[in-house]
Symmetry: C2
């Protein structure tokens, strides 16, 4: 492996710079980007400086993890960094700026040519994983009355690789009129007008649309780039499939990290141990507080409990089952909302179905558990068979409550304009645990007092 | 909304077929596909039959949920279905067959033209979310000695939309020699040979590569289609960005559903309530059994516990914290493996870091909890301050164990050639709960016996 070879060379103090340069040259930019993550700061800089050309340096800057990039920015200085970003595709430059601290962001922008800085500032104003944040402002723009022959000649003469092979017809008000492909252009008679060859239907997305929505549109329409417009149908940029691929990967990771209450910022794995501990601690604090509240509740029930310690034995059971049922409901709904499978018109159907699924699971497992306890109460547990009824009913009610909370919170958060993904995270899980525990203990205590 | 309009028409018994047909005509195939999900079986069939042309019917069949499709297949009959699939792009036809029962699959294949059936059977032999399962066998194939002018003329004359605008140069042994784009072709002199215009480096993926790996390659190389080869470098097909978008969405959903122990089969939301209950019950059964084992463990410790009921109050605390810490470690590693951010060369670094993060969290929260109990032991709890030491140490050890289990299981599953994603599911979580409970109780009991 060339990467292992490079690592060995770096460890050996007698390696000449020429040998290192040669080794670096043999590795593609993506492997270099991954390697930087594993190297100590001074070696990150060393390897980066050995890269043979600016294109490769740009690619490595774009691909590497946030921490390595931070160190490189510090070492290169803001002016050099500004030059790199000016030379990069604008949508990639924005991604890099978005992941930098605000202060660093401003310092780099100050060093740029004002025009470029303004373009980037405009792009920075959109949220990261929306169509606005994903788009590039460069594309093949044509006027409605241009002729196919001229358009093709212009295209071939300028040959701008980063503009793609789709064409967007825009009128004097910068409104999107239609679109056609290079293939359409080749098949058109040279005298045909742009408006003659545009498609009947123009796929497009809005600046605020989510990455998943963009992906769905591109998938359904089978197009590799899609235009982005505002409320007035003014064309702002285009999104190409590779930006969407990256965006999809990031949003899926964020949804998954939200479930475990880790920092939702991408590349959680690239952080140092110390920053990981800090990033996840606030969420564990929720669990901590929840645990304390549970302890308090248990203490409040202590009097009853001491007489029926059996009730306590099933606490892990109740928490596990209720937690899982609630999480299942919340997750299915959150994921469905994210992928667009669930929308306003079927949201209620899905919520109702999820609540029912949870209640049925509560009934099934609560009854099985209750019957098991009744069966062995006398012989194994030396206690009243009614214990089974109490524990069973407690489980049924606790799981039903978890199912309600889990299935309804995504909808509540959506109405409050908060990302519903947090319904699958530690806060809701903890609330669920506490509610379940309280209901279970109240039910069993009440039933016991009736015995 | 045209969809609401159609729903009203369907509910009204006096609606004429002509009105319905008109309403269906106004809705695009994707909305129809979503609508089918919400309709009762007989109306699904009715709406489908009203679709104006076969292309639209194919698209709806492809986009709709598994259940609706099953009903449509039953109603259409296998012969009609075979005709639909023959007319569809092969990679989409395979997706549909893959989601059908084996029996239905065979019956449909029997009704097909033998050549088509054989192509589909070959594609079916690859796993669903691998390069082989995603690829289409149709692409622009050229010989090494063909000339640019001829290639362009052929391309324009046949104008096969589903072949894309990339060209693959293949030698007599069907080996992939290189690739170029329509843009390259236009820029080449008409007499240039195919081998003169191919790129220096040919991006490609292997039949067995995962969907994420394909996505990463396409993202890094900025190409919208990628060729798929076997060990002998023989070209089998190409994957286009829209297949990858869909594949990525599915694999991310599967990873998320695995975390909650729901059926990992896509479109969990589209299932009926009954099938949801059945699909998730086996996983909840794990939680059930785990809860029973926990109850058994608690019973075994009963003698000690009755004297120190305070220990019991912190059980939800221990389970919550240990569960969360273990899940965080497992999830970060599983997700990193899925996206390719974590590979063999940095896996150990990440595991070590994750274990440390977990241990540190255990130390922090265990100590805080222990100190809190010591502080209030005499006044509020009327118990021995040493209780704090015991509970605190129990938490530290339980969380550390959870961190080990969570961070190491993905690696163990990977070595056993099992999808590491299940490390984030209910089985490992349950094992973690039981281990945590056992360690916590053993630690506290031991310490108490020393007091």
């Amino acid at each position: 492996m060339p990467v292992d070879n490079l690592k060995e060379l770096l460890e050996n103090e007698e390696t000449s710079e020429e040998q290192l340069r040669e080794a670096v040259h043999q590795i593609d930019h993506f492997e270099i980007a991954r390697l930087l993550h594993q190297l100590p700061p001074e070696e990150k800089v060393k390897v980066f400086q050995l890269l043979s050309d600016d294109i490769k340096k740009q690619e490595v800057l774009y691909e590497t993890d946030i921490e390595s990039r931070g160190i490189l920015i510090e070492e290169l200085g803001h002016e050099n960094m500004a030059q790199f970003l000016e030379a990069m595709p604008k949508d990639e430059a924005v991604d890099i700026l978005q992941e930098a601290d605000l202060e660093v962001q401003e310092k780099i922008l100050e060093q740029m040519v004002p025009d470029d800085a303004q373009t980037l500032k405009n792009l920075l104003s959109y949220k990261e994983e929306t169509a606005g944040g994903l788009m590039s402002p460069h594309f093949n723009q044509v006027q409605p009355h241009e002729m196919a022959g001229d358009i093709l000649m212009n295209f071939l003469r300028h040959n701008k690789q980063d503009h793609g092979t789709n064409f967007y017809v825009v009128n004097d008000y910068r409104e999107l009129v239609g679109t056609f492909t290079l293939r359409d252009l080749l098949n058109a008679p040279p005298k045909a007008l742009a408006t003659d060859i545009i498609w009947e239907h123009t796929p497009q997305v809005h600046l605020d649309d989510s990455c998943e929505k963009v992906a769905n549109e591109m998938d359904h329409e089978h197009i590799s780039t899609i235009p982005v417009v505002d409320d007035q149908n003014v064309l702002h940029g285009i999104i190409s499939f590779d930006d969407v691929l990256r965006g999809l990967k990031n949003t899926a990771s964020e949804d998954i990290y939200t479930m475990i209450g880790a920092s939702t910022k991408i590349d959680a794995f690239a952080q140092t141990t110390r920053s990981k501990i800090a990033a996840r601690a606030p969420w564990l604090l929720t669990t901590f507080v929840g645990g304390m509240v549970s302890a308090y509740i248990l203490k409040a029930f202590e009097f009853t409990l001491s007489e029926f310690s059996m009730v306590l034995f099933f606490i892990p059971f109740v928490l596990g089952l209720a937690g899982n049922v609630g999480l299942q409901g919340a997750t299915v709904i959150v994921r469905g909302l994210a992928t667009g499978d669930i929308q306003d018109d079927n949201l209620k159907i899905v919520i109702r179905s999820e609540v029912w699924v949870g209640i049925c699971h509560g009934l099934i497992f609560g009854m099985v558990c209750g019957l098991l306890i009744v069966a062995v109460a006398k012989t194994l547990l030396a206690s009243n068979p009614m214990l089974g009824l109490a524990v069973g009913l407690g489980i049924v009610l606790a799981v039903a409550m978890a199912s309600f909370i889990g299935s309804l919170t995504p909808w509540v958060f959506m109405k409050l304009d908060i990302d519903p993904a947090i319904s699958t995270g530690p806060v809701v899980t903890t609330v669920n645990d506490i509610a379940g525990l309280f209901i279970y203990l109240t039910t069993t205590t009440l039933l016991f007092s009736l015995l």
